[in-house]
Protein backbone atom coordinates (compact mmCIF):
# COMPACT_ATOMS: atom_id res chain seq x y z
CA UNK A 1 0.00 0.00 0.00
CA UNK A 2 1.37 3.36 -0.93
CA UNK A 3 0.75 6.66 -2.62
CA UNK A 4 1.96 7.37 -6.10
CA UNK A 5 1.65 10.94 -7.31
CA UNK A 6 2.92 12.24 -10.61
CA UNK A 7 2.24 15.94 -10.82
CA UNK A 8 3.16 18.40 -13.52
CA UNK A 9 2.11 22.02 -13.42
CA UNK A 10 3.51 24.83 -15.53
CA UNK A 11 2.72 28.40 -14.61
CA UNK A 12 4.55 31.35 -16.11
CA UNK A 13 7.84 31.50 -14.22
CA UNK A 14 7.16 28.34 -12.25
CA UNK A 15 7.31 24.74 -13.21
CA UNK A 16 6.50 21.77 -10.97
CA UNK A 17 7.41 18.28 -12.10
CA UNK A 18 7.46 15.58 -9.44
CA UNK A 19 6.98 11.83 -9.28
CA UNK A 20 6.45 10.78 -5.68
CA UNK A 21 6.16 7.39 -4.05
CA UNK A 22 5.09 7.82 -0.46
CA UNK A 23 4.32 5.24 2.22
CA UNK A 24 0.63 4.41 2.64
CA UNK A 25 0.78 5.06 6.37
CA UNK A 26 2.50 7.56 8.61
CA UNK A 27 3.57 11.13 8.02
CA UNK A 28 5.31 12.25 4.84
CA UNK A 29 6.74 15.74 4.99
CA UNK A 30 7.06 17.86 1.86
CA UNK A 31 9.91 20.11 2.85
CA UNK A 32 11.37 23.08 1.04
CA UNK A 33 11.74 26.83 1.02
CA UNK A 34 8.82 28.97 -0.10
CA UNK A 35 8.51 28.82 -3.86
CA UNK A 36 9.77 25.24 -4.01
CA UNK A 37 6.33 24.03 -5.08
CA UNK A 38 5.33 22.08 -1.99
CA UNK A 39 1.96 23.77 -1.50
CA UNK A 40 1.17 23.60 -5.22
CA UNK A 41 1.98 19.89 -5.12
CA UNK A 42 -0.34 19.36 -2.14
CA UNK A 43 -3.14 21.31 -3.81
CA UNK A 44 -2.75 19.21 -6.94
CA UNK A 45 -3.10 16.04 -4.85
CA UNK A 46 -6.32 17.50 -3.45
CA UNK A 47 -7.57 18.33 -6.95
CA UNK A 48 -7.56 22.06 -6.18
CA UNK A 49 -4.88 22.95 -8.69
CA UNK A 50 -5.22 22.59 -12.43
CA UNK A 51 -2.50 20.26 -13.72
CA UNK A 52 -0.85 20.47 -17.11
CA UNK A 53 -2.34 18.68 -20.06
CA UNK A 54 -0.50 15.76 -21.68
CA UNK A 55 1.84 16.86 -24.44
CA UNK A 56 1.48 13.70 -26.56
CA UNK A 57 -0.19 10.31 -26.68
CA UNK A 58 2.85 8.67 -25.12
CA UNK A 59 2.95 11.16 -22.25
CA UNK A 60 1.61 9.32 -19.17
CA UNK A 61 0.33 12.63 -17.78
CA UNK A 62 -0.67 13.36 -14.22
CA UNK A 63 -1.43 10.39 -12.05
CA UNK A 64 -2.54 9.88 -8.47
CA UNK A 65 -3.09 6.59 -6.70
CA UNK A 66 -3.85 6.57 -2.98
CA UNK A 67 -3.55 3.09 -1.51
CA UNK A 68 -5.05 1.51 -4.60
CA UNK A 69 -7.70 4.11 -5.40
CA UNK A 70 -6.96 6.07 -8.57
CA UNK A 71 -7.99 9.72 -8.16
CA UNK A 72 -6.41 11.01 -11.33
CA UNK A 73 -5.07 9.31 -14.44
CA UNK A 74 -4.75 11.64 -17.40
CA UNK A 75 -3.84 8.82 -19.75
CA UNK A 76 -7.24 7.24 -19.12
CA UNK A 77 -9.22 10.43 -18.65
CA UNK A 78 -9.77 9.89 -14.92
CA UNK A 79 -10.11 12.96 -12.74
CA UNK A 80 -12.07 13.00 -9.50
CA UNK A 81 -13.13 16.50 -8.49
CA UNK A 82 -12.07 17.52 -4.99
CA UNK A 83 -15.45 16.88 -3.40
CA UNK A 84 -15.36 13.27 -4.57
CA UNK A 85 -11.91 12.58 -3.15
CA UNK A 86 -12.01 11.09 0.36
CA UNK A 87 -9.41 13.45 1.77
CA UNK A 88 -9.06 15.87 4.63
CA UNK A 89 -7.31 19.19 4.05
CA UNK A 90 -6.02 21.59 6.67
CA UNK A 91 -5.18 24.99 5.22
CA UNK A 92 -2.38 27.23 6.37
CA UNK A 93 -4.59 29.98 7.74
CA UNK A 94 -7.87 29.67 9.59
CA UNK A 95 -10.41 28.29 7.14
CA UNK A 96 -13.41 27.78 9.40
CA UNK A 97 -16.76 28.90 8.00
CA UNK A 98 -17.42 32.22 9.71
CA UNK A 99 -21.21 31.81 9.58
CA UNK A 100 -21.18 28.48 11.42
CA UNK A 101 -20.40 27.64 15.04
CA UNK A 102 -17.56 25.27 15.84
CA UNK A 103 -20.01 22.40 16.20
CA UNK A 104 -21.67 23.24 12.87
CA UNK A 105 -18.26 23.49 11.23
CA UNK A 106 -17.45 20.00 12.50
CA UNK A 107 -20.81 18.67 11.32
CA UNK A 108 -20.47 20.25 7.87
CA UNK A 109 -18.03 17.69 6.52
CA UNK A 110 -19.10 14.84 8.78
CA UNK A 111 -22.68 15.01 7.52
CA UNK A 112 -21.62 15.07 3.88
CA UNK A 113 -19.13 12.24 4.24
CA UNK A 114 -21.55 10.04 6.18
CA UNK A 115 -22.78 8.38 3.00
CA UNK A 116 -19.50 6.69 2.20
CA UNK A 117 -17.84 6.62 5.58
CA UNK A 118 -18.03 4.42 8.60
CA UNK A 119 -19.70 6.00 11.60
CA UNK A 120 -17.35 8.63 12.92
CA UNK A 121 -16.64 8.90 16.57
CA UNK A 122 -17.26 12.59 17.23
CA UNK A 123 -16.43 12.54 20.97
CA UNK A 124 -13.08 10.84 20.44
CA UNK A 125 -11.99 13.36 17.81
CA UNK A 126 -13.14 16.25 19.99
CA UNK A 127 -11.17 14.72 22.83
CA UNK A 128 -8.09 14.04 20.70
CA UNK A 129 -7.87 17.73 19.77
CA UNK A 130 -9.09 19.13 23.09
CA UNK A 131 -11.84 21.32 21.68
CA UNK A 132 -14.67 20.27 23.98
CA UNK A 133 -14.91 23.69 25.64
CA UNK A 134 -15.26 25.70 22.43
CA UNK A 135 -17.94 23.73 20.56
CA UNK A 136 -20.66 26.36 20.84
CA UNK A 137 -18.48 29.34 19.99
CA UNK A 138 -18.29 31.14 16.67
CA UNK A 139 -14.91 30.94 14.88
CA UNK A 140 -14.12 34.62 15.46
CA UNK A 141 -14.20 33.95 19.21
CA UNK A 142 -11.37 31.39 19.01
CA UNK A 143 -7.62 31.80 19.34
CA UNK A 144 -5.47 30.97 16.31
CA UNK A 145 -4.42 27.69 17.89
CA UNK A 146 -7.98 26.68 18.69
CA UNK A 147 -9.07 27.47 15.13
CA UNK A 148 -6.42 25.20 13.69
CA UNK A 149 -7.35 22.40 16.10
CA UNK A 150 -10.99 22.71 15.03
CA UNK A 151 -9.93 22.70 11.38
CA UNK A 152 -7.94 19.49 11.96
CA UNK A 153 -10.88 17.88 13.80
CA UNK A 154 -13.23 18.93 11.00
CA UNK A 155 -10.97 17.29 8.41
CA UNK A 156 -10.67 14.09 10.48
CA UNK A 157 -14.44 13.80 10.88
CA UNK A 158 -14.88 13.26 7.14
CA UNK A 159 -13.09 9.93 7.64
CA UNK A 160 -10.49 10.77 5.02
CA UNK A 161 -8.35 8.12 3.37
CA UNK A 162 -5.61 10.70 3.10
CA UNK A 163 -4.98 13.74 5.27
CA UNK A 164 -3.24 16.78 3.78
CA UNK A 165 -1.86 19.62 5.86
CA UNK A 166 -0.44 22.81 4.37
CA UNK A 167 1.83 24.40 6.97
CA UNK A 168 -0.92 24.32 9.60
CA UNK A 169 1.35 26.04 12.13
CA UNK A 170 2.92 28.67 9.90
CA UNK A 171 0.43 31.41 10.75
CA UNK A 172 0.82 30.87 14.49
CA UNK A 173 3.27 32.39 16.93
CA UNK A 174 5.72 30.21 18.81
CA UNK A 175 3.52 29.76 21.88
CA UNK A 176 0.54 28.65 19.76
CA UNK A 177 2.81 26.32 17.84
CA UNK A 178 3.92 24.69 21.07
CA UNK A 179 0.25 24.37 21.96
CA UNK A 180 -0.65 22.47 18.79
CA UNK A 181 2.41 20.30 18.23
CA UNK A 182 1.50 17.84 21.03
CA UNK A 183 -1.91 17.36 19.41
CA UNK A 184 -0.26 16.66 16.07
CA UNK A 185 2.02 14.15 17.75
CA UNK A 186 -0.98 12.39 19.30
CA UNK A 187 -2.54 12.41 15.86
CA UNK A 188 0.61 10.91 14.39
CA UNK A 189 0.40 8.02 16.84
CA UNK A 190 -3.36 7.51 16.52
CA UNK A 191 -3.74 7.92 12.78
CA UNK A 192 -4.18 4.87 10.58
CA UNK A 193 -4.20 6.83 7.32
CA UNK A 194 -1.35 8.56 5.51
CA UNK A 195 -0.71 12.21 6.24
CA UNK A 196 1.14 14.52 3.86
CA UNK A 197 2.47 17.50 5.74
CA UNK A 198 3.89 20.55 4.00
CA UNK A 199 6.43 22.50 6.02
CA UNK A 200 9.47 24.71 5.82
CA UNK A 201 10.21 24.35 9.53
CA UNK A 202 12.89 21.73 10.35
CA UNK A 203 11.66 21.34 13.94
CA UNK A 204 8.16 20.33 12.79
CA UNK A 205 9.62 17.87 10.34
CA UNK A 206 11.86 16.41 13.07
CA UNK A 207 8.92 15.92 15.38
CA UNK A 208 6.31 14.60 12.98
CA UNK A 209 7.71 13.15 9.79
CA UNK A 210 8.43 9.50 9.08
CA UNK A 211 9.22 10.09 5.44
CA UNK A 212 10.90 13.18 4.06
CA UNK A 213 10.58 14.67 0.60
CA UNK A 214 12.81 17.64 -0.15
CA UNK A 215 11.61 19.92 -2.94
CA UNK A 216 13.58 22.63 -4.65
CA UNK A 217 12.33 24.76 -7.53
CA UNK A 218 9.59 22.33 -8.40
CA UNK A 219 11.80 19.22 -8.42
CA UNK A 220 12.32 16.40 -5.93
CA UNK A 221 15.81 16.58 -4.48
CA UNK A 222 15.42 13.63 -2.16
CA UNK A 223 12.75 11.30 -0.90
CA UNK A 224 13.23 8.64 1.75
CA UNK A 225 12.85 7.64 5.39
CA UNK A 226 13.44 10.60 7.69
CA UNK A 227 16.69 9.70 9.49
CA UNK A 228 18.29 8.30 6.35
CA UNK A 229 17.42 11.37 4.31
CA UNK A 230 18.50 13.84 6.97
CA UNK A 231 21.90 12.12 7.19
CA UNK A 232 22.60 12.51 3.49
CA UNK A 233 25.46 14.91 2.89
CA UNK A 234 25.01 15.15 -0.87
CA UNK A 235 21.74 17.02 -0.43
CA UNK A 236 21.87 20.73 -0.44
CA UNK A 237 19.19 20.79 2.25
CA UNK A 238 19.59 24.33 3.37
CA UNK A 239 19.02 23.65 7.01
CA UNK A 240 21.99 25.73 8.10
CA UNK A 241 22.16 25.70 11.89
CA UNK A 242 19.42 23.07 11.92
CA UNK A 243 21.44 20.41 10.11
CA UNK A 244 21.27 17.22 12.12
CA UNK A 245 19.65 13.83 12.47
CA UNK A 246 16.50 12.53 14.09
CA UNK A 247 16.68 9.08 15.67
CA UNK A 248 13.96 6.88 16.99
CA UNK A 249 14.55 4.90 20.17
CA UNK A 250 12.83 3.76 23.32
CA UNK A 251 13.09 4.81 26.97
CA UNK A 252 15.15 2.00 28.51
CA UNK A 253 15.92 3.36 31.95
CA UNK A 254 15.09 6.31 34.15
CA UNK A 255 17.67 7.53 36.62
CA UNK A 256 15.71 9.15 39.44
CA UNK A 257 18.81 10.48 41.20
CA UNK A 258 20.19 12.49 38.27
CA UNK A 259 16.83 13.05 36.54
CA UNK A 260 18.03 11.46 33.35
CA UNK A 261 16.46 8.98 30.95
CA UNK A 262 18.38 6.47 28.84
CA UNK A 263 17.16 6.26 25.25
CA UNK A 264 18.23 3.02 23.60
CA UNK A 265 18.51 2.53 19.84
CA UNK A 266 18.52 -0.72 18.00
CA UNK A 267 21.79 -0.94 16.11
CA UNK A 268 24.61 -3.28 15.26
CA UNK A 269 25.69 -3.71 18.87
CA UNK A 270 23.80 -3.75 22.18
CA UNK A 271 23.78 -0.89 24.59
CA UNK A 272 23.64 1.82 21.94
CA UNK A 273 22.14 4.69 23.86
CA UNK A 274 22.16 8.35 24.83
CA UNK A 275 21.14 10.01 28.08
CA UNK A 276 18.64 12.87 27.97
CA UNK A 277 16.92 15.01 30.55
CA UNK A 278 14.06 12.99 32.02
CA UNK A 279 10.84 14.70 30.96
CA UNK A 280 8.62 12.06 32.57
CA UNK A 281 8.22 9.81 29.53
CA UNK A 282 7.29 6.29 30.74
CA UNK A 283 9.63 3.31 30.36
CA UNK A 284 9.34 1.48 27.06
CA UNK A 285 7.80 4.47 25.25
CA UNK A 286 9.02 5.07 21.69
CA UNK A 287 10.55 8.53 21.43
CA UNK A 288 12.43 10.67 18.94
CA UNK A 289 15.62 12.47 19.69
CA UNK A 290 17.20 15.12 17.56
CA UNK A 291 20.93 15.63 17.46
CA UNK A 292 22.18 18.69 15.62
CA UNK A 293 25.42 18.52 13.69
CA UNK A 294 26.82 21.52 15.56
CA UNK A 295 26.34 19.66 18.86
CA UNK A 296 28.61 16.77 17.91
CA UNK A 297 32.37 17.03 18.29
CA UNK A 298 34.82 14.36 17.29
CA UNK A 299 37.62 12.85 19.38
CA UNK A 300 40.08 10.08 18.64
CA UNK A 301 39.87 8.78 22.22
CA UNK A 302 37.16 8.74 24.80
CA UNK A 303 37.62 11.12 27.67
CA UNK A 304 36.40 10.37 31.17
CA UNK A 305 37.57 13.82 32.29
CA UNK A 306 35.00 15.64 30.17
CA UNK A 307 31.58 17.05 31.08
CA UNK A 308 30.12 15.40 28.02
CA UNK A 309 27.65 12.70 28.95
CA UNK A 310 27.10 11.02 25.63
CA UNK A 311 29.94 9.64 23.55
CA UNK A 312 29.33 7.00 20.91
CA UNK A 313 31.97 4.97 19.11
CA UNK A 314 31.56 5.63 15.41
CA UNK A 315 33.12 5.20 11.99
CA UNK A 316 33.56 8.00 9.49
CA UNK A 317 31.38 7.40 6.45
CA UNK A 318 31.80 10.48 4.39
CA UNK A 319 33.18 14.00 4.61
CA UNK A 320 31.69 16.91 2.69
CA UNK A 321 32.08 20.65 2.49
CA UNK A 322 29.57 22.67 4.47
CA UNK A 323 28.00 25.96 3.44
CA UNK A 324 30.86 27.99 4.91
CA UNK A 325 34.41 27.26 3.67
CA UNK A 326 35.69 26.96 7.26
CA UNK A 327 33.35 24.09 8.02
CA UNK A 328 32.96 20.45 7.08
CA UNK A 329 30.10 18.02 7.56
CA UNK A 330 31.06 14.50 8.58
CA UNK A 331 28.66 11.59 8.37
CA UNK A 332 29.28 8.92 10.96
CA UNK A 333 28.03 5.43 11.45
CA UNK A 334 27.55 4.70 15.15
CA UNK A 335 26.76 1.00 15.09
CA UNK A 336 24.16 1.39 12.37
CA UNK A 337 22.85 4.70 13.66
CA UNK A 338 23.58 7.61 11.30
CA UNK A 339 24.97 10.82 12.77
CA UNK A 340 26.11 14.06 11.16
CA UNK A 341 28.79 16.21 12.80
CA UNK A 342 29.87 19.71 11.89
CA UNK A 343 33.54 20.45 12.51
CA UNK A 344 35.97 23.04 11.20
CA UNK A 345 38.09 22.14 8.20
CA UNK A 346 41.12 22.81 10.38
CA UNK A 347 40.03 20.22 12.97
CA UNK A 348 39.28 17.78 10.17
CA UNK A 349 42.84 18.24 8.93
CA UNK A 350 44.33 17.99 12.44
CA UNK A 351 42.48 14.74 13.12
CA UNK A 352 43.32 13.57 9.59
CA UNK A 353 39.69 12.55 9.12
CA UNK A 354 39.09 9.96 6.44
CA UNK A 355 36.33 7.47 5.59
CA UNK A 356 36.63 4.25 7.60
CA UNK A 357 38.35 6.00 10.50
CA UNK A 358 37.23 4.95 13.97
CA UNK A 359 36.64 7.69 16.52
CA UNK A 360 34.29 8.95 19.19
CA UNK A 361 31.30 11.18 18.59
CA UNK A 362 30.87 13.39 21.62
CA UNK A 363 27.34 14.67 21.81
CA UNK A 364 26.86 17.93 23.65
CA UNK A 365 23.11 18.17 23.39
CA UNK A 366 20.29 15.79 22.65
CA UNK A 367 16.75 17.06 22.32
CA UNK A 368 13.77 14.85 22.95
CA UNK A 369 11.34 15.86 20.22
CA UNK A 370 8.45 13.48 20.72
Amino acid sequence: MNIHARVRIAHPGFDLDVDLHLPGRGVSALFGVSGSGKTTCLRAIAGLERTSARVSGSDPGNYLDVNGAVWQDDAHGVFLPTHRRPLGYVFQEASLFAHLSVRENLEYGRKRAARDARSVDLPSVIDLLGIDAVLDRMPDRLSGGERQRVAIARALLTRPHLLLMDEPLAALDLARKQEILPYLQRLHDALEIPLIYVSHAPDEVAQLADHLVVLEQGRVLASGPLSETLARLDLPIRLGEDTGVVLEGAVAERDAHWHLARIAFSGDYPDLHVWVRDSGVPLGQRVRVRILARDISLALETHSDSSILNALPATVDQIAADTHPALALVRLNAGGVPLVARVTQRSAANLQLHPGQKLWAQIKAVALVG
Binding site: P81, T82, H83, R84, Y89, F91, H99, Y108, G109, R112
Partner: protein, 227 residues
Amino acid sequence: MDSLFTAADLSAIWLTVKLATVVTMILLLLGTPIAWWLARTRSAWKGPVGALVALPIVLPPTVLGFYLLVTLGPNGPIGQLTQALGLGVLPFTFAGLVVGSVIYSLPFVVQPLQNAFEAIGERPLEVAATLRASPLDAFFSVVLPLAKPGFLTATILGFAHTVGEFGVVLMIGGNIPEKTRVVSVQIYDHVEALEYTQAHWLSAGMVLFAFLVLLALYSLNPGRRRA
Protein backbone atom coordinates in the same frame (compact mmCIF):
# COMPACT_ATOMS: atom_id res chain seq x y z
CA MET B 1 -56.35 59.33 3.77
CA ASP B 2 -58.76 60.66 1.18
CA SER B 3 -57.68 64.20 1.88
CA LEU B 4 -54.03 63.28 1.35
CA PHE B 5 -54.16 61.02 -1.67
CA THR B 6 -56.62 60.75 -4.52
CA ALA B 7 -57.77 57.37 -5.77
CA ALA B 8 -55.39 57.81 -8.71
CA ASP B 9 -52.54 58.46 -6.29
CA LEU B 10 -53.29 55.31 -4.32
CA SER B 11 -53.49 53.30 -7.49
CA ALA B 12 -50.09 54.71 -8.57
CA ILE B 13 -48.56 53.84 -5.18
CA TRP B 14 -49.91 50.30 -5.35
CA LEU B 15 -48.65 49.89 -8.91
CA THR B 16 -45.22 51.16 -7.90
CA VAL B 17 -44.93 48.73 -5.01
CA LYS B 18 -46.09 45.87 -7.19
CA LEU B 19 -43.63 46.79 -9.94
CA ALA B 20 -40.70 47.18 -7.54
CA THR B 21 -41.46 43.87 -5.83
CA VAL B 22 -41.73 41.89 -9.06
CA VAL B 23 -38.64 43.58 -10.51
CA THR B 24 -36.58 42.99 -7.35
CA MET B 25 -37.42 39.30 -7.32
CA ILE B 26 -36.53 38.93 -11.00
CA LEU B 27 -33.35 40.94 -10.46
CA LEU B 28 -32.18 38.70 -7.61
CA LEU B 29 -32.78 35.57 -9.69
CA LEU B 30 -31.13 37.05 -12.77
CA GLY B 31 -28.45 39.13 -11.05
CA THR B 32 -27.07 36.36 -8.84
CA PRO B 33 -25.71 34.16 -11.64
CA ILE B 34 -24.45 37.21 -13.55
CA ALA B 35 -22.69 38.57 -10.46
CA TRP B 36 -21.29 35.12 -9.67
CA TRP B 37 -19.92 34.77 -13.16
CA LEU B 38 -18.44 38.28 -13.12
CA ALA B 39 -16.84 37.65 -9.71
CA ARG B 40 -15.24 34.34 -10.65
CA THR B 41 -14.52 34.31 -14.36
CA ARG B 42 -11.10 34.75 -15.89
CA SER B 43 -12.69 35.04 -19.32
CA ALA B 44 -11.86 37.94 -21.60
CA TRP B 45 -15.60 38.64 -21.72
CA LYS B 46 -15.60 39.82 -18.13
CA GLY B 47 -14.83 43.42 -19.10
CA PRO B 48 -17.40 43.79 -21.90
CA VAL B 49 -20.16 42.03 -19.93
CA GLY B 50 -19.42 44.09 -16.81
CA ALA B 51 -19.55 47.30 -18.85
CA LEU B 52 -22.80 46.28 -20.51
CA VAL B 53 -24.43 45.56 -17.15
CA ALA B 54 -23.23 48.93 -15.81
CA LEU B 55 -24.44 50.95 -18.83
CA PRO B 56 -27.74 52.06 -17.21
CA ILE B 57 -25.76 53.87 -14.50
CA VAL B 58 -24.32 56.34 -16.98
CA LEU B 59 -26.88 56.41 -19.80
CA PRO B 60 -29.73 58.93 -19.69
CA PRO B 61 -32.86 56.85 -18.94
CA THR B 62 -34.48 58.27 -22.04
CA VAL B 63 -31.82 56.70 -24.24
CA LEU B 64 -32.38 53.32 -22.63
CA GLY B 65 -36.14 53.77 -22.86
CA PHE B 66 -35.93 54.80 -26.49
CA TYR B 67 -33.98 51.70 -27.54
CA LEU B 68 -36.22 49.47 -25.47
CA LEU B 69 -39.24 50.99 -27.17
CA VAL B 70 -37.71 50.32 -30.56
CA THR B 71 -36.60 46.72 -29.90
CA LEU B 72 -39.71 45.71 -27.98
CA GLY B 73 -42.08 47.54 -30.33
CA PRO B 74 -44.12 45.83 -33.06
CA ASN B 75 -41.32 46.19 -35.64
CA GLY B 76 -38.41 45.50 -33.29
CA PRO B 77 -36.70 42.08 -33.18
CA ILE B 78 -37.96 41.25 -29.70
CA GLY B 79 -41.37 42.69 -30.48
CA GLN B 80 -41.65 40.35 -33.45
CA LEU B 81 -40.63 37.45 -31.25
CA THR B 82 -43.19 38.24 -28.54
CA GLN B 83 -45.85 38.63 -31.20
CA ALA B 84 -44.90 35.29 -32.76
CA LEU B 85 -45.20 33.72 -29.33
CA GLY B 86 -48.66 35.20 -28.95
CA LEU B 87 -47.61 37.56 -26.16
CA GLY B 88 -48.42 40.73 -28.05
CA VAL B 89 -46.13 43.70 -27.76
CA LEU B 90 -44.64 44.79 -24.44
CA PRO B 91 -44.46 48.60 -24.63
CA PHE B 92 -47.23 50.38 -22.74
CA THR B 93 -48.02 47.28 -20.64
CA PHE B 94 -47.08 46.35 -17.09
CA ALA B 95 -44.90 43.51 -18.44
CA GLY B 96 -43.04 46.01 -20.59
CA LEU B 97 -42.48 48.16 -17.55
CA VAL B 98 -41.06 45.14 -15.73
CA VAL B 99 -38.64 44.36 -18.57
CA GLY B 100 -37.48 47.98 -18.76
CA SER B 101 -37.05 48.27 -15.00
CA VAL B 102 -35.11 45.03 -14.75
CA ILE B 103 -32.58 46.28 -17.29
CA TYR B 104 -32.48 49.75 -15.75
CA SER B 105 -31.91 48.49 -12.18
CA LEU B 106 -29.67 45.52 -13.02
CA PRO B 107 -26.34 47.17 -12.09
CA PHE B 108 -27.70 48.16 -8.67
CA VAL B 109 -28.23 44.49 -7.89
CA VAL B 110 -25.31 42.94 -9.73
CA GLN B 111 -22.61 45.20 -8.33
CA PRO B 112 -23.25 44.67 -4.59
CA LEU B 113 -23.57 40.94 -5.22
CA GLN B 114 -20.40 40.87 -7.28
CA ASN B 115 -18.54 42.76 -4.53
CA ALA B 116 -19.85 40.33 -1.91
CA PHE B 117 -18.83 37.29 -3.96
CA GLU B 118 -15.39 38.76 -4.65
CA ALA B 119 -14.89 39.48 -0.95
CA ILE B 120 -15.63 35.85 -0.10
CA GLY B 121 -12.92 34.66 -2.47
CA GLU B 122 -11.96 31.15 -3.50
CA ARG B 123 -10.97 29.77 -0.14
CA PRO B 124 -14.37 28.97 1.44
CA LEU B 125 -15.30 27.12 -1.75
CA GLU B 126 -12.09 25.11 -1.68
CA VAL B 127 -12.67 24.30 1.97
CA ALA B 128 -16.23 23.20 1.20
CA ALA B 129 -14.95 20.97 -1.62
CA THR B 130 -12.47 19.26 0.73
CA LEU B 131 -15.44 18.65 3.04
CA ARG B 132 -17.30 16.81 0.25
CA ALA B 133 -19.64 19.62 -0.79
CA SER B 134 -20.39 19.74 -4.52
CA PRO B 135 -20.10 23.20 -6.14
CA LEU B 136 -23.88 23.71 -6.05
CA ASP B 137 -24.09 22.53 -2.44
CA ALA B 138 -21.23 24.89 -1.52
CA PHE B 139 -23.00 27.80 -3.18
CA PHE B 140 -26.10 27.36 -1.08
CA SER B 141 -24.46 26.28 2.18
CA VAL B 142 -21.46 28.62 2.18
CA VAL B 143 -21.66 31.41 -0.41
CA LEU B 144 -25.27 32.48 0.19
CA PRO B 145 -24.96 32.80 3.99
CA LEU B 146 -21.59 34.56 3.73
CA ALA B 147 -22.95 36.95 1.07
CA LYS B 148 -26.04 37.84 3.10
CA PRO B 149 -25.06 41.51 3.59
CA GLY B 150 -24.50 41.79 -0.16
CA PHE B 151 -27.95 40.34 -0.87
CA LEU B 152 -29.53 42.74 1.59
CA THR B 153 -27.86 45.70 -0.08
CA ALA B 154 -28.78 44.43 -3.54
CA THR B 155 -32.42 43.93 -2.57
CA ILE B 156 -32.79 47.38 -1.04
CA LEU B 157 -30.99 49.15 -3.87
CA GLY B 158 -32.86 47.22 -6.57
CA PHE B 159 -36.23 47.95 -4.97
CA ALA B 160 -35.51 51.61 -4.25
CA HIS B 161 -34.04 52.28 -7.64
CA THR B 162 -37.07 50.80 -9.38
CA VAL B 163 -39.38 52.94 -7.26
CA GLY B 164 -37.40 56.03 -8.19
CA GLU B 165 -37.23 55.62 -11.98
CA PHE B 166 -39.01 57.99 -14.29
CA GLY B 167 -37.46 58.34 -17.71
CA VAL B 168 -37.56 54.70 -18.74
CA VAL B 169 -41.11 54.37 -17.47
CA LEU B 170 -42.28 57.33 -19.42
CA MET B 171 -40.64 56.16 -22.63
CA ILE B 172 -41.74 52.55 -22.52
CA GLY B 173 -44.76 52.55 -20.24
CA GLY B 174 -46.38 55.79 -21.11
CA ASN B 175 -48.91 57.05 -18.66
CA ILE B 176 -51.80 54.62 -18.44
CA PRO B 177 -53.71 54.67 -15.14
CA GLU B 178 -53.54 51.38 -13.17
CA LYS B 179 -51.26 49.87 -15.79
CA THR B 180 -48.15 51.93 -16.12
CA ARG B 181 -48.73 55.12 -14.16
CA VAL B 182 -46.34 54.79 -11.21
CA VAL B 183 -45.73 57.36 -8.47
CA SER B 184 -42.99 59.29 -10.24
CA VAL B 185 -45.21 59.72 -13.31
CA GLN B 186 -48.18 60.62 -11.15
CA ILE B 187 -46.16 63.42 -9.54
CA TYR B 188 -45.27 64.70 -12.99
CA ASP B 189 -48.95 64.70 -13.91
CA HIS B 190 -49.89 66.64 -10.78
CA VAL B 191 -47.28 69.26 -11.49
CA GLU B 192 -48.37 69.56 -15.11
CA ALA B 193 -51.92 70.15 -13.87
CA LEU B 194 -50.67 72.65 -11.25
CA GLU B 195 -51.96 70.39 -8.43
CA TYR B 196 -49.08 71.29 -6.18
CA THR B 197 -50.67 70.05 -2.95
CA GLN B 198 -51.06 66.55 -4.34
CA ALA B 199 -47.57 66.68 -5.80
CA HIS B 200 -46.25 67.70 -2.38
CA TRP B 201 -47.79 64.75 -0.57
CA LEU B 202 -46.45 62.21 -3.03
CA SER B 203 -43.06 63.87 -3.27
CA ALA B 204 -42.68 64.12 0.49
CA GLY B 205 -43.62 60.45 0.69
CA MET B 206 -40.87 59.61 -1.79
CA VAL B 207 -38.32 61.66 0.16
CA LEU B 208 -39.24 59.86 3.38
CA PHE B 209 -39.11 56.52 1.64
CA ALA B 210 -35.69 57.22 0.15
CA PHE B 211 -34.36 58.38 3.52
CA LEU B 212 -35.65 55.29 5.31
CA VAL B 213 -34.17 53.03 2.66
CA LEU B 214 -30.73 54.60 2.98
CA LEU B 215 -30.99 54.59 6.77
CA ALA B 216 -31.78 50.89 6.68
CA LEU B 217 -28.90 50.29 4.33
CA TYR B 218 -26.35 52.01 6.52
CA SER B 219 -27.55 50.64 9.84
CA LEU B 220 -28.07 47.06 8.67
CA ASN B 221 -24.82 46.98 6.84
CA PRO B 222 -22.18 48.73 8.94
CA GLY B 223 -19.45 46.76 7.17
CA ARG B 224 -19.88 48.98 4.13
CA ARG B 225 -18.50 51.93 6.00
CA ARG B 226 -15.40 50.05 7.00
CA ALA B 227 -14.77 48.82 3.49
